[in-house]
Amino acid sequence: MGLPDVGLVGVIATTHIVSALGMEEAASVESELMPPIAVLHDGLPHSPIRIFHKDTVLAVLSETAIPAPVVQPLAKALVDWSKNRSVKMVISLGGLPTPERQELTLENIRIFGAASTPTALEMLKNWDVEALKRGFMVGPYALILRYAAESGLDAIALLAQSFYEYPDPEAAAVVVSRVTEMLNLKVDVSELLKKGEEIRLRARDVMRRTQQELNRMKKSQEYDLPLYV
């Protein structure tokens, strides 16, 4: 899953994977709830949320910010669709907003995980990904985990420490390296890192609109400390 969230980590990571693996467009999300947008590629209109595939891997990618009121029905639809298609595991790629991100270099960006089921949690452990044990998750990935849990679907979220309000290609590279290692796929991230500044420049408008939607979702609640331990 590559949906717009903090640092656009999931979108940048998934775009890189789709391109590096040469994945092909297989399906798209069509909904009256989405804003009336067509994304033009080579002169032809596409849905802003598309699903790509190669072999047994599917990738969901959104090229536009998801309006806050659409997050819930979209998460539900993606989980139901995955369940109907007998998807084995849903992996959401994203960022974990970190105020001290500016001080972190590529080498010391840490990656955390969250899981929908005890089985998925065990998988995180086997993959040596530290699980988020307490706290709040806000946004599309939070709901994907909840709906997946309800329907018994194994889902995980892989979240790299990232900027909240700036596109973060370095965090995306960390996530790409980890997820492709987990899935035994070969994807080189050197090009992604080399083009980092250019990606930051290109991603400004999507980031700006995503930040507006994150504010509406009250994403900053992820910084809140929980009441009980």
């Binding site: 700036y166 930051r200 420049l201 400004r204 700006r208």
Partner: protein
């Protein structure tokens, strides 16, 4: 019918409607302020950078994302009325064509933005730092002389 409808519209419905209306209006205002104009200016040949303001008890911290810029070209100017102007030249010219857009003409060779600081600050004591593509501007907040109240 009219009477029934009025009866059902109790104070809670009115409050709900009021808040819905407020939210809708603020969303539209937000859209008109931020989303209604492009992030580029062909006549000035510049792009608008992503900017965020963080307020701490002592400082206002402004962070500006400035990818692909020449560090030595970054300028920060304090204009009147608590407004800062940040500009920088990019290390190469970018055109609409680089974004795959062929129906617009124009190219961009720098970033430029004006930032209104929302609180009284001491512009004279501004410090700036540019690292890893981010400009950080720190402005100490102006303090009024407070009254110390003893805690018993």
């Amino acid at each position: 019918m009219v009477w029934e409808r009025r009866r059902r519209r109790d104070i809670f419905d009115i409050i709900d409607e009021y808040f819905e209306e407020m939210e809708r209006a603020s969303r539209e205002l937000f859209e008109s302020l931020l989303g209604g104009r492009p992030s580029w200016d062909v006549s000035e040949r510049c792009l608008e950078p992503l900017t965020n303001i963080h307020i701490t008890p002592d400082e206002v911290i402004v962070r500006v994302d400035l990818p692909m810029v020449k560090p030595e070209s970054i300028k920060v100017r304090a204009l009147g009325g608590n407004v800062l102007e940040v500009s920088a030249d990019m290390n190469r010219t970018i055109s609409f064509n680089d974004f795959g857009i062929t129906h617009r003409r124009g190219e961009f060779c720098g970033f430029k933005t004006k930032i209104r600081i929302p609180l009284p600050v001491d512009m004279e004591k501004m410090t700036t730092k540019f690292a890893r593509g981010f400009l950080e501007i720190r402005l100490p907040r102006k303090r009024r002389e407070g009254v110390r109240i003893p805690v018993e």
